[in-house]
Point group: C2
Chain length 139, copies 2
């Protein structure tokens, strides 16, 4: 799917693609595949790959180390992704569409029937701090 | 060149592609084309398009507003770009290669014979603060 989106990875990036099933063991329904390009104290950039219908469950990025928490911009590259953001409702992102999610704001998203490749531009990622609404989830 | 890289833009993004000739009037040799996806107080993401042999001249991003200055990661998507970073020497970035440039560090880059598309992931862009080595340059 990344190759179809015109995205070239190095061999080591291909070997290190992160697969997150959020501890639920239902990867095809609830999960996410990630390529992390960079994650410094100030900036993070990733590609997110979602299988058809795959969902990333509701969560927020709380404040840490004196920062307001992670600010994320999602930009859809291929496919379509249904995005829900607390206080802003629902939106369908198609290629070229994007949305910026303020820190500490609940959100979830789900790919359409073709799956999706989504670029994420953000402040530092500290995934272990994410707060999920579903108490069964561990990141 | 963006379409060849598999990058989809909205009509308004296409209409707002920024062309920077740095006040030198030699765009084909010294210049840069930019699509700015997002530029908040915390995060910025752009695509840079360089014509064959086109160069972005030496500059640095100085501290401002209590920050250390803009931190940039360049990731080559198509073509090739020759990158020079003060204290780190020269590097040729090809598709999938990337380099993070610390704040306030002199750098310049030039596309190879095919041109290049380069993704830039960074902290906030304040282009008007950039310090160029060539005193004729205005941004």
């Amino acid at each position: 799917m990344l190759a179809d989106a015109g995205i070239v990875l190095t061999p080591s990036e291909r070997a290190e693609i992160e697969v997150a099933d959020f501890g639920l063991g239902q990867l095809e329904q609830i999960g996410l595949q990630l390529v992390v390009y960079v994650n410094t104290e100030r900036v993070c950039a990733k590609e997110l790959v979602l299988f058809p219908g795959q969902m990333c469950p509701e969560h927020r990025h709380p404040p840490f180390d004196g920062t307001p928490g992670k600010e994320e911009t999602f930009r859809c590259r291929t496919g379509a992704v249904h995005l829900h953001v607390e206080g802003r409702g629902e939106r369908m992102l198609r290629p070229g569409d994007q949305c910026t999610i303020p820190p500490d704001t609940l959100h979830w998203f789900q790919a359409g029937d073709e799956g999706a490749v989504v670029s994420e531009f953000s402040t530092q990622s500290r995934d272990e701090l994410d707060v999920f609404t579903d108490p069964r989830i561990v990141r």
